[in-house]
Symmetry: C2
Subunit: 407 residues, 2 copies
């Protein structure tokens, strides 16, 4: 995370256990054939105010159905039990029974009420959870105050690296922390950005405010990344706030709400960027800024269309400044456009003005595309709204990884 002036500080080596009173663990239970970590628990020492956002896929996985139901019944939770290697999706009634049993076992282990335990799964769709492996595995899980990194490893699927961060800020003179972890990597698309994300804070949050603040942070971070346009069955983002820092409770009218939300957005954005950069087969992180849009919605649509375009992504992989494809993507985004007003920059090189080529030296534009992080900016010249989206290049490796996943 690189941040300059902000109302918060980055916590070194941050994780979901950076905030006070959180513990976690992750183990290799044997769900994954690879023997990598695949099962874990993240828990607070005391009950939390809880919020969540979930996939809009109409085939939601069983843990999504269960967690959404529990958060609707009460905006409280104390733990999340999770596994990778199996999505527990499209498994019918058995899927729900298995998800419930996972939370029941975790609740026993933690001595908390089962209704306070949420669940998350990620991996292959349509294969029942190996419950014997999970039952045996959960007996080995011992949550610890330094278990955050372990947990972040246990939610990985095709991720090549774990995704974690934390920030600290002051609320009424008390330090509060926000720590998060997430996993990508395929099926990454808005509504909501396909992923699992867990955000914990030792701030005290009023329940409705917790949900609203999480929604705002997700909309500008996880919902602005695209890897392949596929919205998964399992997307879940949880926010748990345990108040362990001892600071006064925040709500939308609090003086410190803006600082807290800036910190929350920074954590979510950092995780989102890491997910985009680690997209399946990705070699480059693409950041697309749209400015001058007639509305916020237009800016968001246009930015997401560009990062989602297969042709733009392939050109990025080839470091080919084929700028017409960028305009073409904006042109089918649904955003209001006046072709004669649009301008485009590849990195710092302006390649189009008033909708046409500036006559740039192509080599200059290409040079802007050789780094690991590439920036495109489209100015629509119509208004003052802007948005940023993140994605990655489309590579041969994406195809190779996804041609043979289930078998």
């Amino acid at each position: 995370m690189t941040l300059t002036s902000a109302p918060f500080n980055v916590v070194a080596d941050g994780s979901v256990t950076s905030p006070l009173g959180f513990r976690a663990a992750g183990i290799a239970a044997g769900i994954k054939a690879s023997g990598r970590p695949d099962l874990g628990i993240w828990a607070s020492e005391s009950p939390c105010i809880a919020a969540g956002t979930f996939t809009q896929n109409t085939f939601p996985a069983a843990p999504v159905v269960l967690s959404r139901e529990r958060l609707r019944a009460q905006a409280r939770a104390q733990a999340v039990v999770f596994n990778s290697g199996n999505a527990n999706a499209c498994n019918g009634e058995r899927g729900l029974t298995d998800a419930r049993e996972m939370t029941h076992l975790a609740a026993q282990l933690l001595s908390v009420d089962e209704s306070l335990v949420l669940a998350a799964s990620t991996g292959i769709i349509g294969v029942p959870l190996p419950m014997e492996v999970i039952r045996a595995g959960l007996q080995q899980v011992r949550v610890r105050p330094d278990g955050g990194h372990e947990a972040a490893q246990a939610i990985m699927t095709t991720d090549t690296r774990q995704k974690e961060c934390a920030v600290a800020l002051s609320v009424g003179g008390r330090e509060v922390r926000i720590g998060g972890m997430s996993k990508g990597v395929g099926m990454i698309y808005p509504n909501m950005a396909t992923m699992l994300a867990f955000i914990g804070t030792d701030a005290a949050l009023e329940p409705a405010y917790a949900q609203a603040a999480l929604k705002r942070a997700v909309d500008q971070s996880f919902n602005m990344i695209t890897v392949d346009g596929d919205t998964s069955t399992n997307d879940s983002c949880f926010l748990l706030a345990n108040g362990a820092a001892g600071a006064s409770q925040l709500d939308s009218s609090s003086a410190e709400a803006a600082a807290f939300e800036a910190g929350l957005a920074a954590v979510c954005t950092d995780l989102a960027r890491k997910m985009a950069a680690d997209g399946e087969g990705a070699g480059k992180l693409l950041q697309v800024d749209v400015t001058g849009a007639a509305s916020d919605d237009d800016a968001r649509r246009a930015a997401r269309a560009v990062v989602g375009s297969s042709l733009v992504k392939a050109a990025l992989h080839g470091e080919d400044p084929n700028w017409g494809r960028i305009f073409a993507a904006v042109g089918y985004s649904g955003a209001q456009v006046d072709p004669n007003r649009a301008a485009l920059w590849i990195g710092s090189v302006q390649v189009a003005r008033d909708g046409v080529n500036t006559g740039l030296a192509k080599d200059e534009a290409r040079a802007q595309m050789t780094s690991a992080e590439v920036n495109f900016r489209v100015d629509l010249g119509l208004g003052s709204s802007s948005a940023t989206a993140w994605g990655c290049d489309l590579t041969e490796d994406y195809v190779v990884e996804n041609s043979a996943y289930s078998t």
Copy 2:
């Protein structure tokens, strides 16, 4: 084209010059560095009733702007001048001037009114047309009654084969013909399916009926194919009807309207399938049938989402029966779904029933995916609407082709 019982016959070796009174030509003018055919004219000996459907991209190419304008002014045309190798898109005022000059030169050559000449371009975006090459080239173009195949070659970009067909049917005892050609291959996505398509008929059509019939045919053919989800700046589909067969004029109340539209849909569907099968880097044609949908719109959305899913396309390439990805795509399509009612077939093998795995032997499903044409059928179990969409697999070659196109 393979057709069994239908109110029309397939014309052997069909092309846009199969209907009476049409002529065409295509030459290698030198727009493409490869030296392949890149410039041509398709014309009728007499003025035609004309209809068109165009891209919804808000950066429409200059020939789209010009042709749309002319067809709005009058539902008549006599010729289309076209080039490949350059899209004449994002070229501002100059683009329009160049497109107009192309039609002016073609009109002179054919001795027809310039307002009756339409234009179409396809290729790289944002590079001005090489007008000197086009001026010199057009002087070499001589339309001929047997020039259809030549024209079909001259609209190709990364197409590996030309796409043409024709059918014949009877209208009041007279044989009328419908012949078409199209080009794909990247930026293939509905609204309208990204492409150039030219459909000619020697039937006589009432103008409003011509437009309505074309729209219906396009909606079930070109608008149901997806290669990469990118809607281009240049999509254009033209229908010219010259009445040269001497049959009575058709309108929506004609007894033969249904047969004519079946023939028109067959031509468009055959071209659409050929485009999907020839998608950039494609190794397989994918046909997705959705049945049992609550509405036509739901059926179309669901079918298009499945053929458009990068994960489904990659799994198809790997011949991997990863059926959960198919349900996941239906799940984010926006179609109404009851997860407990959905069923799925891969070829003739039912892999899911009531939303869950049938417990099939995976090898049987895999065997259904080894052929060059693969069929998935999703039954939503909610109603009686159905739709069919076509796409292709996602291969390493797609990435390779699109990583370095402009340079």
